[in-house]
């Protein structure tokens, strides 16, 4: 009777369960895996060398470099800002907290195209800050700063959203314990706060990175799509596709997808390597 008490109650019959599992797997395959497979198949239609050649063109290389640069700047910045925002929201009570939480979600609810347009209106030559920026000889719109601002805006919520529930649930007790044991604020942050949220932080950073590399709408508006200068990989893909260069378009798309898959694989590898530690420290 003991074993029966431990196994969960199931009301579904075995065929039902099998059917459900197969159904979910089939859906996942058709909806998620098949399109991805098609991208790779199309990219390699004329052989690997054709795909590699199309990726080694000057404009293609520039797009790849720009995308990596934007992600390399935007992701660390948003990781730090997101961590600070999550800490403030989870650990302190202050007026305007609800407003701050809503604001963090703003990029999720505003269409990226609208966000891009807003940035153009704000920083463009006829915009609110445009005249001043022109006077300072700073180019924001149709240049790298604009791309960065758009990407920062779009990817802002990812890290904070992952961290807020984890930090709220963990509360302040462990941090207070560190303080009573004589730890300085920075030592406490390094040895207690950060390790406790490291998985949520990693997950947020990966999501943030995937979106930073893949963002199209906002970046398309603010970049002006200047080939070889302000085109990132997603924009380059669209341009190539519209020019009927489908092998080049799909080769670039495959590379972008591969970058995303790489980050996903990285996360799984880390989780697998630390499986023992995770099972020991979760649900304390």
């Amino acid at each position: 009777m003991h074993d029966a008490a431990l196994s969960p109650v199931r009301t579904e019959s075995r065929p039902w369960r099998t059917g459900l599992i197969i159904g979910v797997m089939a859906l996942t395959f058709v909806l998620l895996l098949a399109p991805l497979a098609v991208v790779f198949a199309e990219a390699l239609r004329n052989g690997l060398s054709a795909a590699v050649t199309s990726l080694s063109e000057r404009d293609a290389l520039s797009a790849i470099r720009l995308t990596l640069l934007v992600a390399a700047v935007a992701v660390p910045l948003n990781a730090v800002i997101g961590l600070a925002a999550a800490w403030a929201i989870a650990k302190f009570d202050f007026r305007g907290k609800a407003v701050l939480i809503t604001l963090i979600d703003l990029p999720f609810s505003v269409s990226p195209v609208v966000a891009g347009l807003a940035l153009v209106l704000l920083y463009g030559s006829h915009g609110l800050l445009g005249n001043w920026l022109v006077a300072q000889d700073v180019k924001v719109v149709f240049a790298l700063p604009g791309l960065l601002l758009a990407t920062l805006f779009i990817t802002f919520p990812f890290v904070a959203r992952e961290l807020i529930p984890v930090m709220t649930e963990q509360g302040r007790a462990e941090e207070e314990a560190a303080l009573t044991l004589g730890a300085s604020g920075w030592h406490m942050f390094r040895t207690v706060t950060l390790p406790n949220v490291r998985w949520a932080l990693l997950y947020g950073v990966l999501l943030c990175n995937a979106r930073a590399m893949g963002e199209f709408g906002a970046v398309a508006v603010i970049s002006g799509k200047i080939r070889g200068q302000t085109t990132t990989m997603p924009i380059m893909i669209e341009m190539l596709y519209n020019e009927y260069l489908s092998v080049a378009a799909f080769a670039m798309a495959a590379l972008l997808a591969a970058l995303a898959l790489l980050t996903l694989a990285l996360k799984s590898a880390l989780e697998w390597r630390h499986a023992d530690f995770l099972s020991a420290t979760r649900r304390h």
Binding site: A173, E174, E176, A177, A178, L179, T180, L181, G182, A183, S184, H187, T191, V192, P195, N196, A280, T281, R282, R283, H284
Partner: protein
Amino acid sequence: MHIEIDEIAKSFNGTQALHPVSLSIPSGAMTALLGPSGSGKTTLLRIIAGLETASSGRILLDGKDATFTPVQQRRTGFVFQSYALFRHMTVQENIAYGLRARPRRERPSGEEISRRVECLLALIQLPEIGRRYPSQLSGGQRQRVALARALATEPRMLLLDEPFGALDARVRRDLRAGLREIHDATGLTTVFVTHDQEEALSLADQVAVMSMGRIEQVGQPRDVQERPATEFVKSFLETAPAL
């Protein structure tokens, strides 16, 4: 360490958690702050530890004004209600935390730290659990590890917030005796918060009964029980068995 609480008051966003209270906690004694939830006892304990700042009043530690001494420099051993063990560290690492957090020139050597950890594990009678994580311990074991961690830095006083609150009755009795033994062995000034009359009366040398942010009566357990000063103390202690 003699703790002198001088007209300490605390309000949170307009609600008065503590009316000005004064209490003298003699060096080396074990004092219980006893009261129902919402009586301000935990707030008072956190103010002594430096985890909260008082709205007004002073805290004197051995006669020196410590009202604005930062929590890190108060050198209190604090045992939290839910123990607040660092979940990502082993028991050894938990206990060693306070020693490793010291600035380099005051930090003991690695060998000295592990020796101290071994001693403390022996003191709490759990010598074998050093490599485990907090989630792999029972409630009673966690409480003892929290106690060892608080003692590791050689604090000047030991403060405990509902130290036996989350434990079942039998474990509670064992740990109570254990805490008293450790207190008597170290001679540390000890203050613990509890809502359990029997716990306060059987364990403490001095009991401060609190209600609604005020201290109703201070005295030895027998005095408080035999000569309750107010109607509240009388009714609150009525449920406790005679000593």
